[in-house]
Amino acid sequence: MTVATDIARSRRRSLSLGAGRLLLGLCFAAACAAPFVLNGYFLYVLTLTGVFALVALGLNLLTGYAGQISLCHAAFFGVGAYVTAILTQKAGVPYLLSILAGGLFTAAVGAIVAVPAMRLRSLYLAIATLGFGVVLQKIIFEWRSLTNGGGGLALDPPAIAGYELGATGLYFLTLAFVTLGLWGAWNVSRGRTGRALLIVKESEIAAGALGIPAARFKVIAFAISAFYAAVGGGLFAYLVRYIHPENFSVGLSIAFLSMVVIGGLGTIGGSILGAAFYVIIPELLRGIKDAPGLVFGLLLVIVMVLMPQGLWGLVRRLGRRT
């Protein structure tokens, strides 16, 4: 990028902001219309995309902005799912309140996981978080009196104020959470916290010299990210209505990380695109006999080779051309 493109970019900014808002509005309108067009299965796929998009939004704040790798997000997702399910099913707490409680509880767990992050970096941090993920999954498995262990938890259909949600209701609830999550992540990324996370990623010494305590902001990033994952987990539990510790293994953590990288590290919109790619593309490939995994794997490689800045980088490039 040159100085000329920088200047052109700043002149185009207000125009592209207007176009971006229009596009966002159109996407939101399409998302609202989707349940009236799609069949039950595709509505499930779209709801799952929304659930994963929430997790990816939080993980992108942690990895894309703060530069902290996490391989325990599936466990955060699982803790959120179990806390929501147990509070709703066993304690009779209203569903929405349970989701919020699951989010706050898991945010506290995320803050604890952040303690080694104050000392560790890159692969060492990845391995430490992997260990935490395994421990959390094991706790869910072994705490049979609460979680029913390997037997899993079967859940009743979700209800709000006595009204059963159904597939369409849960879809709209997920859409509401994604919209709120997107707005919150956008605000954080462009505010005091987002800027602090970026300088912590760049240089902890420079952050300190600017009065920004790197350790505190790593903890904040883990807590916010865990909150997003747990809210996703609370929605996921009542989307599938049967949860089992094996649902929340390290493979899912790697999938979450892939969504963020495919969508575009350090981009809010990329989190949504990454989740959509990861959930919807395999569904579209189901028609290819015996080879959907192979084709999807090759697509992943192609996206990463041709679009090192992720799908959001491609959207930006296309936006500049128009």
Binding site: T193, E202, I205
Partner: protein, 254 residues
């Protein structure tokens, strides 16, 4: 008038003494040059003052506040700004966005307010943006405000780093080799700017620099380190003619 005091500071790395019993002080409104040959301990001393390195002995105080017991972010919060030899900026962000990072401590809204972008968050961000505009103007960088750091000349990057320190409402400024990599015109501009900062804001400035004409023309006083020990502290003309300084720093026989 604030006073930054380095008192009997010693630092060792393994068996090597980087600093031994170093003492001097700096008052607001003064410009002091910290000079010495490579390996003398100048950067280690800056690190001790800014809280990056904890001294093994001695202490650093800002008036009655014991800075050497504080982490770097708290030291910065006490009004000690640091400009690095190589500016550590976020290269994919613009000049303005990098400067906004330095408004962190003056933006005291909470995380929940930020998530919801409540009205007082908007107001605080707008006030910070106005302060950034003032600093851009002071540094002569208004024209470059929307350029990304990646496309900025090295000299301007150093000014952005200085601008970040100025946005932190500091009373003392620590500069590590500020003119390294700058051309003659940029050096002259920086010298004028530092003198203006002293007269306008009353900043106390500590400059680590190898360029003797620059430091002797800018500084009120020079402090000389050699092998971690303070060997001279006084007026530039006196210090530069001190036989010990000439022997150790300039490599001449006393």
């Amino acid at each position: 008038m604030a006073r930054l005091a380095v008192e009997n500071v010693s630092v060792s790395f393994g068996g090597i003494h980087a600093l031994r019993d170093v003492s001097f002080d700096l008052e607001s409104g003064a410009i002091v040059g910290l000079i010495g040959p490579n390996g003398a301990g100048k950067s280690t001393l800056l690190n001790c003052i800014s809280g990056i390195t904890r001294p093994d002995g001695g202490r650093v105080r800002l008036d009655e506040v014991l800075l050497s017991a504080l982490p770097p972010a708290s030291v910065a919060g006490c009004g000690i700004g640091r400009v690095f030899q190589h500016p550590e900026l976020v290269v994919e962000l613009s000049v303005r966005e990098n400067l906004m990072i330095a408004c962190h401590r003056s933006l005291n809204y909470g995380l929940v307010s930020e998530l919801l972008k409540l009205p007082h968050v908007w107001a605080a961000e707008r006030a910070a943006a106005r302060r950034v505009d003032e600093v851009l103007d002071r540094l002569g960088l208004s024209e470059s405000a929307d350029l990304t750091i990646r496309n900025l000349p090295y000299g301007h990057r150093k000014l952005v780093d200085l601008g970040r320190a100025l946005l932190m409402e500091i009373s003392f400024l620590l500069l590590d080799e500020p003119i390294a990599g700058l051309n003659e015109i940029e050096v002259a501009k920086l010298r004028d700017l530092l003198l203006r900062l002293r007269s306008d804001l009353g900043l106390g400035i500590l400059v680590v620099e190898h360029n003797m004409p620059f430091v002797s023309g800018l500084c009120d006083r020079l402090v000389v380190l050699d092998l971690g020990q303070l060997i001279a502290n006084g007026l530039p003309a006196e210090v530069l003619s001190d036989p010990k300084v000439m022997a150790s720093y300039l490599g001449e026989d006393a």
